[in-house]
Symmetry: C2
Subunit: 212 residues, 2 copies
């Protein structure tokens, strides 16, 4: 019974023109931004629709004009992030096919996306439970694609003899994904180390090991 995405503004194909550069789409965006900040800080359940609207200097009425429900907004945020992830994966897969370059790129990309989409990532991992069952399944499926990309690259490296064969590609993948995903808990853009530098160190650790 997967009903199509249909908020009132999404279904409005014939758009009205507004004067003075005003665009209702900005209203929508400001609601999303407001929600991103609040969900990240307080969590989905502890944030009321009222608060989201107020932070965007609007009212609940406006919110429900742009979104079907609170869940609908969450879904939108999750999908926004997943689309960015999948797009990046494809970019990497169309680049170098050297396993070690690919793994390093994947680490770098993962950390970069954590830095760029910090709120999205936090919400993505913490609030998946709040999605409806079928939506959760869909999100998990897409998330699986990202992990498969990791696993495929490692598997490929093993097959070509670049990586050691006594490590299960799935386990290595979980380790890599975990290392990178966890960064949303600590990665500090204002810290002394750049994202690229952190990525370099992660790559060094995983590829060459900690031994001197």
């Amino acid at each position: 019974m997967a009903r199509a995405t249909s908020t009132r503004s999404e279904s409005s194909r014939r758009r009205q023109r507004w004067p003075d550069g005003y665009d209702p789409e900005n209203t929508r965006k400001s609601l999303i931004t407001s929600a991103l900040e609040l969900f990240e800080q307080r969590g989905f359940d502890r944030t009321s629709v009222q608060e989201i609207a107020e932070r965007a200097t609007l009212t609940k009425g406006a919110f429900y004009h742009h979104f079907e429900s609170k869940d609908d907004l969450l879904r939108h945020i999750q999908e926004e992030y997943l689309e960015a992830q999948l797009a990046a994966i494809q970019r990497i897969e169309s680049g170098s096919d050297d396993p070690k370059v690919r793994v390093a790129e994947l680490i770098r990309f993962s950390l970069t996306s954590v830095a760029e989409y910090r709120a999205h990532v936090t919400i993505f991992y913490q609030e998946r439970r709040n999605l409806t069952a079928d939506l959760f399944a869909e999100v998990t499926r897409k998330r699986g694609l990202v992990e498969s990309a990791f696993a495929g690259m490692i598997q490929d490296g093993i097959a070509r003899g670049v990586f050691r064969s006594d490590v299960d590609p799935r386990i290595a993948t979980f380790g890599l994904v975990g290392m990178c995903a966890w960064a949303y808990q600590w990665l500090n853009l204002d810290g002394p180390l750049s994202v690229d530098e952190v990525a370099r160190q992660f790559s060094a650790m995983v590829l060459e090991g900690l031994y001197a």
Copy 2:
């Protein structure tokens, strides 16, 4: 203003004797077990006190006899897990002082505790936000001790020349902690690989690297 732990049953020093092996402490435990299961599945906010009580075939009244509040129960669960963590850290620190053995032990221990305390771990990471500010600070402090243990061991390894010096110990720590912590999302006790085997592979990857 750190008020001492004081639910009614904890403060009752002179215990009543009950016939037939009945012990009200079991009631308390069954409430905790019930909450662990529900919090893990649905999250703290989506679980009502009513549901917790009902799952233990009790009522809200009984719940509020054993716990001060819903938050009090969450605090109890968090502390239960942290105590176990800190105890294990001390055990490791009193063992071998070889950096590579210690790191391997720490990985093994982290994964084991994820397997053993699965619900606790899930709740710990997902529901920290729901603690009061000062309690959150306390939990974060204790959690910091665990991470310091990791960092100290790596630092020590670098100082002794066992580990490479171009990797920041803090970054390496975050990587290691992330790898292990993330396991709560996928580690499967019924899967083909034992926890020890997963730990071995993680250690191999981090210490020796993926290269063949």
